[in-house]
């Protein structure tokens, strides 16, 4: 017994080192598996609070830019309003007087944004208190931003589309060929679209929109333009480079998308599996 204690005391630094290293490696590995990184997150009370304080100062420097963006968005919405198509063609739309739409939008502000790493996260200033929960989609007026993965009382953490773990269902606007949106970790304004079949007719400049096959994003939210594409080694699927409409380095205000029917669809899918 004495010898064991002596051994432990003599090697206490080595043991402590191995212990702490193992702990940090455990946290690293955990952060690489989707939806498990719960412990170490910027959406907690202290880090969120500090980021919010800092952001309240920084936001003044971007006011002009945000105002311009708001005007642009208002302009587009006004154009759409004044050019509402003939009522004959409106039957395909959801009748908004009877049903409230499935999707509800909530505003939030980005208080921390990373884009220089391989796995990037964004922190928002709204959390569980404002009814924001994991797996809600996050967009701006220009395009998609990411998916919420971790929520505290006042803050939420978003897995940015600039994250190697992120995988979002998107499709071509012209045809309905769909694939997955991923990121190779290089340019923060260029993401990759994989798994698009060879039959899809592609052209540089084509628009990519969200596919609506997941419960997270509604169909038709703009993502970006095709700037380059090539077939993969097997020659059956395309890998497409997409220039994002969003400037991921300067986001500012975002909308969180709430799918109100999600619980119902989930429960339906679960009964189907049994």
């Amino acid at each position: 017994m004495q010898q064991i204690f002596n051994f432990l005391i003599r090697n206490k630094n080595n043991i402590l080192f191995l212990l702490l290293l193992a702990l940090s490696l455990f946290l690293t590995i955990q952060s690489h598996s989707f939806h498990k990184s719960k412990f170490i997150s910027s959406a907690n009370f202290i880090t969120g609070g500090i980021y919010k304080k800092a952001n309240s100062i920084q936001s003044y420097f971007h006011l002009e830019d945000y105002n311009a963006r708001l005007l642009e968005e208002n302009n587009e919405l006004r154009n759409r309003l004044s050019n509402v198509p003939d009522t004959l063609f409106r039957e395909t739309f959801i009748d908004s007087t009877v049903y409230e739409g499935i999707y509800e939008f909530r505003t939030a502000t980005v208080i921390n944004n990373n884009y220089s790493k391989v796995d990037n996260y964004i922190t928002l200033d709204k959390g569980r208190k404002d009814n924001i929960l994991p797996e809600y989609g996050v967009v701006t007026s220009q395009g998609i931003v990411g998916i919420i993965d971790n929520v505290s009382t006042n803050y939420a953490r978003v897995i940015s589309i600039l994250n190697t773990d992120s995988k979002i269902n998107v499709q071509l606007k012209k045809t309905n060929h769909f694939g997955s949106l991923v990121w190779n970790g290089k340019d923060p304004n260029v993401v990759q679209l994989i798994d698009v079949p060879r039959l899809a007719p592609l052209k540089k400049g084509d628009t990519i929109i969200t596919g609506g096959k997941s419960l997270i994003f509604p169909k038709g939210i703009p993502v970006g333009n095709i700037i380059d594409f090539h077939l993969d080694e097997n020659g059956s699927y395309y890998t497409i480079d997409i220039q994002l409409f969003n400037d991921m380095t300067n986001i500012g205000h975002v909308y969180v998308i709430v799918n109100k029917d999600k619980a119902e669809i989930r429960s339906l899918e679960e009964t189907d599996n049994d």
Binding site: L20, S24, Q30, S31, H32, S41, T47, N112, S116, Y121
Partner: protein, 168 residues
């Protein structure tokens, strides 16, 4: 003694805040951010108990990880540096550091530079390897390590010169 504790605690907090609020937003050339916070590991008293140093290094890295949502990569890199710092010290300053309380500011210039250089490069290499999490990106890891190290070393040398204690 209490003086050292206070100055190190203040340095700990100030360096973390400086890192997450200012330096992480530089993104020079798209991805180069100086990691000035390891100045804490460089300046930490050489003669203090190693186990306390390991724990502090872990806490320093973990705070950075919490702010950056990076899992445990900073913690791992910091603990690694804290563990091998005695070896680096012996390599750079010779045997002398063991016997007397050497202070970084009154060591020979060449030895000081080599000490900072080794600490920064090793730290950044471990950090970026864990960040990429795969050796298939070894070229990208080396590139990031190289450019970020230059930036960090410059920042460290500048801050050391600026905050040099006055000679009497």
């Amino acid at each position: 003694m209490t003086n050292t504790i206070i100055s190190n605690s203040i340095r700990f907090v100030v360096l973390i805040l400086l890192q997450v609020l200012l330096l992480n937003n530089i993104n020079f050339l798209g991805y180069v951010n100086p990691y000035l916070y390891i100045l804490f590991l460089i300046l930490y008293p050489f003669n203090s108990p190693q186990s306390l140093f390991l724990i502090l290094a872990f806490l320093l890295g973990l705070s950075l990880d919490t702010f950056e949502d990076s899992g445990g990569i900073h913690a791992a890199a910091c603990v690694f540096i804290a563990y091998i710092r005695p070896i680096i010290l012996r390599f750079s300053f010779g045997i002398s550091y063991d016997y007397q309380t050497v202070k970084l500011t009154n060591t020979p210039y060449g030895a000081r530079i080599s000490y900072i250089l080794i600490v920064v490069i090793l730290h950044h290499f471990v950090l970026f390897t864990l960040e990429m999490f795969s050796f298939t990106h070894i070229f990208l890891i080396l590139k990031k390590t190289f450019f970020t190290s230059i930036f960090t070393i410059l920042m460290i040398l500048i801050s050391l010169t600026l905050f040099q204690p006055r000679r009497k």
